[in-house]
Amino acid sequence: MSTLAVTEAPHIDWAGISSLIALFGGAVVVLLVGLLRARFARLTLVPVLTIVAFAASIGLAIWQWDEDTSLMSGALGLDPLAMIGVVGIGVAGIAAVLLSIGATAPREAAHGEYHAMMLVAAAGGAMFVGAENLITTFIGLELLSIPLYVLAATELHRRRSLESGLKYLIVGSVGSATLLYGFALIFGATGSLDYAAIADQVAAKGLGDDPLMLGGVAMVVVGLAFKSSVAPFHQWTPDVYEGAPTPVTAFMATATKVAALIAFLRLFDGALIGASDAWGPALAALASIAIIVGNVGALGQSSMKRLLAFSSIAQAGYMLVGVVVATKLGVQATVFYVLTYVVMTAAAFAVIEAAERESGHDGISALAGLGRRRPLHAIALTLSMLGLAGVPATVGFVAKLRIVQAAVDGDYSWLAIVLVVGSMISFVYYLRVVARLWTDEPAGVAVAPQSQAVEVEAPEAVATTTAVADPKGLPAAAVPGGGAVVVTGATILPMTVLAVVAGAAIVVLGVIPGPLMTVVEDVARAVPELFR
């Protein structure tokens, strides 16, 4: 008996994993609160608690900022790169929760489950960005992906939502399986699952041209490219983005990007840096394909969500440039870009969700004349589009500047040229959206100079039209709690708040990028392999 008594528990750094605990704990709490019968609990308490959990994880990550260690016997890194990933995912999560207020998806899927799923996905993302071990990487990735498959399919009565969920699941699983096989080959070549040990092995044995290693790296590249929707593995992205409920799309677009890009950095610029001769050109090629395909693909789109899907493919290409150059500057540039991307995309989706609720669809025409109806939304979307295009005085310009500098500095000037050629193309579709906002009269609705009048009119008019257009659209009364497909009397306030905050951030960070830059300076130390 006494021998049993002295069994020593492994040391657990509770502080180090506190932000993860906040997310997982939040998920459990939200799930339970969601079971309460009170309307207040479901409609108000659940989102509030979710936001609290996200905010707590952000706060705890900032608290742990100065740490630089490994947890769980080297499985999880606790360093600024991981923490900034947690912050980015947390911000994306808060944005998605704000967009979900009053949306159809959480009502259909039950509020508790919907929000818990989001928290679990965020926790997976937090694990993914901190992973320093192939096992943790895989678990983090799956924990991020599986809830997203479900979330994409939450609008159970909308066929497109279910379709997008299934499509996402199939493509995502193919990506996971490929990634897993790549991991297996890397494990076979190095005999180790830890990033640090892999890096040592690659350096020591000169595995740069080992066939097993090369095969593994190639499959990992493909697998991650599937996950982060880098062309030519992007075909699922527009469909899934379009089909999924908009708040979920927003979460997918932002949180997944943060997680995937940081994982890219950690894996390639950390563990596999020794084989950079092998993956460097491959990733560079992927990045340029993504930039061109994404930007060209976006040209013909009339749905805002599809447009943003293609734009996100191109943006993933821009961000990959920082990974490719494999320098300190590159790491910082990618992290900076991904953070700014979260802000810019959040602003865009906030406006799209609001417009979708008012008009019932996400086409660019839904935005016509927004400048008169909802100037705040129009300004936010304008800033977001200009930011994504990289216009000076928005944060997008600074981000692009960093990427280009990293590319030129890392002797990838040609990639920088590809990048700006891509941006040139992107101006066409971004500006087309912006022009729509400020020039057109609102379509369908008679010209109403008073914004008040439109606010009252639009949802009703639209509710009837969509009910006709959608044969399966249930009558509004059929679903408890309000509208079926189009939410009548839609709540727009949370979207406005998010749009205004994100829009302001785009400009403020664009003019005064210093503070965020300083924060990002720190992250490169998480990738010590770069400085060998």
Partner: protein, 607 residues
């Protein structure tokens, strides 16, 4: 202390203020902002010392420390008159807007806001001494015009949106390539182990590796030539000009294209001398082609706007010619001509607007006519503007073109200058054609025969007065620019060859005083020998280290007027020194004083 940030942000600030004012009064907020900026810039011009330090009223703080980008503004001989032109142009434009329907439009706030942002951006591009800051403002400059055209332009929604997107994307082709080039310049010029700096003088001093200068220059030139626009890359011009509202177009055509000219003088020539010397013939030939092509189009089109559009292209061809002659007189002429042309264009577009209103909105030359008899006051004002456009002897435009052509004659092939001077003759034809079609002939059927309104005539008087003032005192501009243009062209001139330098010195021996070291006696044999790969090497240990103070301007240099002209570093050593500034910071044997590299360090930091 005249703080340049005040001038820079004032217009944008007033644009934002306009959002708080009721729509009826907002135009006056715009006018007030523009007039205040104008007053500020007049003070700047009066305060400018032509032979004082190269950088006056320096503002210098960190902007993006991680990238080494600084917020550096300064007034130099190159930009002081262009700043004035800008503020005049925007003040003129805001006044004009205040008298038209744009000013009373329910969305007048947008006009004022975008115009304010545009002015800030243009001023920023002119004042910036940091390359990235310049690029940022240069790119930003376009965006307000996108909104102004898309919202208030001519034609259907569809048409004007398409036209303006075409314009933006076209011009961005160059601008974004320039962004890459700007970053590459900064990175390549940075010696190992030192912090990246994008200060233009700092880069010029450090030197960009000669092998890369070709493509870098091509990127910069692309950005500037598209903006002007020059001949093969002017595709956006016709649609863009047709779509833009006239008051906006006046400032767009009169001011923005000049920033491109300024970009050549301020950036491309000093920091990429080798690239300039290698590729200048391409630019020169494009310039001459622009002159011929645009002049002939201006002769044939019946759209009054397009006559002015193509005349602008031709004029900018001239200006480019002057810049690329790589001679101080040519470059000064180019700057003078930039100012002249800007002022003339303001008047000309207003004239088109007045004529167009008379014909009931048509801007076709065939619909006009009869203004000389029915509206004599207007016709008198219009003829003055026309004289300025065609560079009649007696106007400052004549002086400018003369300087440019002289520069081209001496600095480039004489054949080029002869061909270019054809453009002068053609200018007379198309400018007079515009005037005659508008003012003489029979009064067309649709024309409403009335004198211009008082506000219109008062507005029209502004450019006319300015044209007259410039005609009496063209030397003011040239004087302010002289030292600065000498500094701007000297590096490239040296790379071109000793003969070129000798010719410059023959024409103007005082050029040596401004840039004593590189313009020292050039032995014909050694001038062409250049050290290879010297750009990256650091100077001898005894030099005053420029890197300790990257914000150039700050490094206290040697007063150009004292003695440097008497201590030229002669001989072969001198000639290698002059070619590559960053290797050339040797200690002058006769004085024991570190010989400062030419342009950047000769001057103090202003006051």
């Amino acid at each position: 202390m005249l703080h340049l940030s005040i001038l820079l942000w004032l217009p944008a600030l007033f644009g934002l203020l306009g959002l708080l004012v009721p729509a009826r009064h907002v135009r006056w907020v715009g006018v007030l902002g523009a007039v205040l900026a104008l007053a500020f810039s007049i003070v700047l011009v009066l305060d400018f010392e032509p032979h004082g330090s190269a950088f006056q009223h320096v503002t210098d703080t960190t902007w993006i420390s991680a990238l080494g980008v600084r917020y550096q503004l300064a007034v130099t001989g190159l930009n002081v008159w262009l700043v004035l032109l800008t503020t005049v142009g925007f003040a003129f434009s805001s006044l004009w807007i205040a008298t038209t329907s744009l000013g009373t439009d329910p969305r007048a706030k947008h006009v004022i806001l975008h115009l304010g942002i545009a002015q800030t951006a243009v001023l920023g591009a002119l004042l910036a001494q940091d390359l990235i800051l310049f690029v940022a403002f240069f790119d930003l400059m376009l965006i307000p015009f996108f909104f102004l055209t898309a919202q208030f332009g001519n034609g259907t929604n569809e048409e004007r949106v398409r036209a303006t997107i075409k314009m933006i994307v076209y011009t961005l082709v160059g601008s974004l390539l320039m962004l890459v080039a700007a970053i590459a310049v900064g990175v390549l010029a940075t010696p190992d182990g030192q912090a990246v700096s994008y200060n233009i003088q700092e880069i010029a001093q450090r030197g960009v590796p000669e092998g890369s200068q070709g493509w870098l220059f091509a990127c910069f030139a692309a950005a500037f030539l598209v903006k002007m626009p020059a001949f093969p890359i002017h595709g956006w011009l016709a649609d863009g000009y047709k779509a833009m509202p006239l008051p906006i177009l006046a400032v767009f055509s009169g001011v923005l294209s000049k920033v491109a000219v300024y970009g050549f003088l301020q950036i491309a020539l000093p920091i990429l001398p080798q690239g300039t010397a290698d590729l200048r013939w391409v630019v020169l030939i494009l310039a001459v082609l622009s002159i011929l092509y645009a002049s002939s189009l201006a002769l044939t089109t019946f759209n009054a706007r397009l006559v002015l559009a193509y005349s602008s292209v031709a004029q900018l061809g001239f200006i480019t010619l002057g810049v690329m002659s790589l001679r101080p007189d040519g470059a000064s002429g180019a700057l003078l001509q930039s100012v002249n042309h800007g002022v003339a264009v303001f008047g000309a577009f207003l004239a088109v607007a007045i004529l167009g209103r008379r014909t009931g909105g048509s801007e076709d030359l065939r619909d006009m006519g009869g203004a000389a008899t029915k509206m004599p006051v207007f016709a008198v004002l219009f003829i003055v503007v026309t004289y300025a456009v065609l560079a009649m002897p007696g106007t400052a435009n004549f002086v400018g073109e003369f300087l440019i052509l002289r520069g081209a004659w001496e600095g480039t092939a004489q054949g080029l200058a002869i061909v270019a001077s054809l453009g002068v003759a053609l200018a007379a034809v198309y400018a007079l054609r515009l005037f005659i079609r508008g003012s003489h002939n029979r009064v067309a059927a649709k024309v409403e025969p009335r004198e211009g309104t008082r506000p219109e005539l008062a507005l029209m008087a502004i450019p006319v007065v300015l044209i007259a003032a410039l005609a009496f005192h063209p030397q003011q501009t040239v004087k302010a620019a002289d030292d600065a243009t000498t500094r701007a062209v000297q590096r490239a001139a040296i790379v071109v060859g000793p003969d070129h330098v000798r010719k410059i010195l023959e024409a103007d021996p005082s050029a040596r005083n401004i840039a004593p070291e590189p313009f020292a006696d050039v032995p014909p044999s050694a001038g062409t020998v250049r050290p290879i790969g010297g750009a990256r090497t650091t100077g001898p240990a005894s030099q005053s280290d420029p890197a300790t103070d990257p914000n150039t301007g700050r490094a206290v240099g040697v007063d150009p007027s004292t003695g440097q002209a008497t201590t030229p570093s002669g001989g072969a050593a001198g000639s290698t020194v002059q070619v590559d500034p960053s290797t050339g910071q040797t200690v002058d044997p006769s004085t024991g004083q570190p010989v400062e590299p030419p342009s950047a360090q000769t001057e103090g930091a202003g006051r």
